[in-house]
Amino acid sequence: MTGWRVEPTEPVLAGHYPGFPILPGVYLVEHAHQVACGSPPEGADLVLTGVDSARFLAPVLPGDVVRVDLAWSAGPEGWGCRADVHTGRGPVASVRLRYAGSSDFPAPQPFGPIPRGDG
């Protein structure tokens, strides 16, 4: 599996933190989510509805290569995806993502024509 090399020039590192670059834990959650969306079960069109749990086990530093192992499971509340995130130095995060089918969890569309309200 291809990995994500966290370049020292990764923009977020400038602010997290100045003089002490360390990848924010939620970036590992986001990366796991992106990888998950790239290989959905049965070609499902999925919406991220939650994070059942995430544990951050070790810091990710500039130059680290992040890899993700995924395991999907179907449940009553939609699809669950367990992501084990690791670098060459070992596991860095364990994430359980929660998805719904886009038809079961339609995105609200509040933008468009405004009803006149005088009908």
Binding site: P11, F20, E30, T49
Partner: protein, 154 residues
Amino acid sequence: MNWRLDFAQVLAVLPHRYPIILVDRVDDLEPGVRLTARKAVSGNDPAFHAGAATWPATLLIESWCQAAAVLATWDRPNPDVRTGRVPLVGAMSGIRFPRPVWPGDVVEHHVRLDRGFGDVLIVNGDSTVDGEPVLAVDRVVVALRSATQLTGGR
């Protein structure tokens, strides 16, 4: 006594800086108990430049966690992590995103301190936009760690 913090005062508490400083203002901080903070989401956010249609839920979590870090550390601020301790999220559970956040939304974070022992704090809460829920947080564990602890001196 409760406190209200402007952006400069938030920067004096949190070590986070651009492009990942995601709390604009603290409207009400009750020390050791709870906090209400806000984050205005702009179409100028780098996430939208990268093509996102809605604000990434993971940034919403990060923003909420930064608000939690203000509650956790405001009485012992450390804006330079190289010389002191840094608030890090160790674990989270029971996170839900009832609806997306769009450019133009002002997110109001509500953080409650559940338990705190020394350098570890457990918080929960939610976020709303115009009173509508956009985030529910069952449990987040924030730990204060020194830089050398994290890197092993690397």
